[in-house]
Amino acid sequence: TAAAPAALAQANPVGAEGGDPNILTLPEHSKGLGQAVATDGYGRPSKYEANVQRRPSPGLTQTSQASVSFAPLQSLFGIVTPSGLHFERHHQGWWDIDPSKHRLMLNGSEASLMKRPMVFTMDELMRLPSVSRFHFIECGANTGMEWGNVAVPTCQYTHGMLSCSEFTGVPLKLLLDMAGVDYKRARYVLGEGADGSSMTRTVPMELVESGEVIVAYGQNGEMLRPENGYPLRLVVPGVQGVSWVKYLRRIEVGDQPYGTKDEAIHYVDLMPDGKHRQYSSIQECKSVVTTPSGGQVLLDKGYYNVSGLAWSGRGKVKRVDVSVDGGRNWRTARLEGPVMSKCLTRFNIDWVWDGKPALVQSRAMDDTGYVQPSFQQLRAVRGTRSIYHNNAIQTWLVQESGEVKNVQLA
């Protein structure tokens, strides 16, 4: 399915005839009649974009239904992730569920915590007040392979468990209000999926009360994709992806956290003292340069727009600095608007490459004042066995040959 490797010569030659043949000889499309409207009632990317795919990382998991595919960050623009390229993380495979048969149930861990346990159809949920908001989703294990040392070649594999969409749905708070929740005692919320794993995760009531947690059916203008939880998923802004329960079938409120498989066996972060941090949920401020990045080749000296993504699970990105000398000196990048809370922010900065080796890094800061740490700073506190929540500064080595390599600095 992938296109043939591209010719590497990046050039703009005049040609022997006194001009580029691509200009002097008019192309077929300038001299003919093209295709009709609605050739595709639902369109696809150009055939020349076949290289832009989400991909699993070879050998990362033993099965393909409890696995991951990574978004091709190196080829994306702006902040919206095309839904067809959204990263995937399934625990028991994905399904295409008939939405007319899907139900959402609300209940309390005991009767006194919710006056009125309820059942909703999709039709009913879609009648309720909706909000539409842009948020990133990042797997807690994103960049998890790189805790100890460099493991994978491109930013697709280092950072590609990251995507960003406009989500539409009903604030969970509104549903809980309808059901009459005892907010004094019910401080924990359980989301449960309808797939085989019936994924469960505990979410703090504080986040729900903030209005940020959404019971979402819309993603980037259309319904959620099946791989992302069609027809209903929980959106928990700022929190690792595993909490964004897909195929959402049930919400329970309770007075204690639930210690689910993915809060007691996985998504627990092993610290140097041998203890695991449990219920570590927030994705802290992080960034990565996506162009140039690992596995790419600069074919010429000269001007390059260095571009990348920054985000924070605690709020808005406030500033991004970029270094091309391995962190010795930094310049502040331009942020593309809108800068939104718990959302990707695209940054850009000028760079003229002189052909010598360069070490490209980005460092993000959020509006709480938190600064993205280096690997050293992160490891000094958390060691190298955590798997989750690796938000260290990424380094790309641009070699004299132009080839860009994933490296870590001493």
Binding site: Q256, L397, Q399, Q408
Partner: protein, 239 residues
């Protein structure tokens, strides 16, 4: 969204009461305090039958297989059962971590097996089968003896023997609520130096050249136009 009306009456004709039967069908979660745990029981012996019939093909006869997933059993000791801390987690050199090394709460095992296993037929086990196979796993990990029968009555005592029951901490800043954690205070603190921030720069780690094609040909993983193209990793690095 900002009216004074009660929420129940603000959205007429939308949603209805859940029935007791419906709640029973879907409210299956089991919490660490065993809220939600249905009554029942299962012996290690019966658990062995369930395991060998329905689980061992994926997880191995002793829960040791890493063919379809990482091993469930291994790495815990009798001493861990006594202390509630898995000693090998303190040894950075010990490879891998099994399920039993990590899981602090027996409810988690019960709940997860009940909702999700066997992988290709989740929710097909009877309540007693879940008790039994959980008992069998715990027996393989030396948490309960071979003649043990796990039940809703004694599961609390079993919890007091979980090898890693004291191995968890919520003393961190990554829980976005007040009930647990340190209230959101970050553990790692960096500052945004701008000039002459580090004395020298040296590589600590880099992808070795022999692995450059391990993720496939990167030329085929970048679009055919762009500021940069993908490296042809079927070839040796350019020099």
């Amino acid at each position: 969204l900002g009216t004074a009306l009660g929420a129940e009456s603000r959205y007429p004709q939308v949603g209805r009461d859940a029935t007791p039967k419906e709640l029973a069908a879907w409210d299956i979660d089991v919490r660490p305090d065993f809220k939600g745990l249905p009554k029942g029981q299962g012996s290690v012996q019966r658990g062995m039958d369930v395991w060998e019939g329905k689980c061992a093909s994926c997880h191995g006869v002793f829960g040791e297989s890493n063919e379809v997933f990482s091993p469930l059993i291994g790495g815990t000791t009798k001493n861990d059962v006594a202390t509630g801390r898995v000693a090998r987690l303190m040894d950075a050199g010990f490879p891998g971590r099994t399920t039993l090394m990590k899981v602090p709460t027996v409810s988690t095992l019960w709940d997860y097996i009940n909702r999700a296993m066997p992988w290709t037929q989740p929710k097909s086990l009877s309540t007693d089968e879940v008790y039994a196979v959980t008992a069998y796993l715990l027996n393989m990990a030396d948490v309960v003896p071979a003649d043990f029968t796990l039940s809703h009555d004694n599961i609390g005592q079993v919890q007091a023997r979980m090898p890693n029951r004291n191995g968890m901490s919520t003393d961190h800043g990554l829980w976005p609520g007040k009930g647990m954690g340190n209230g959101g205070k970050p553990d790692v603190k960096a500052r945004a130096c701008m000039k002459d921030c580090v004395p020298g720069v040296a590589l600590a780690s880099a992808l070795p050249d022999f692995a450059r094609n391990a993720h496939g040909n990167l030329a085929e993983q970048n679009r055919s136009v762009g500021a940069q193209h993908g490296a042809d990793t079927t070839q040796a690095p350019r020099t």
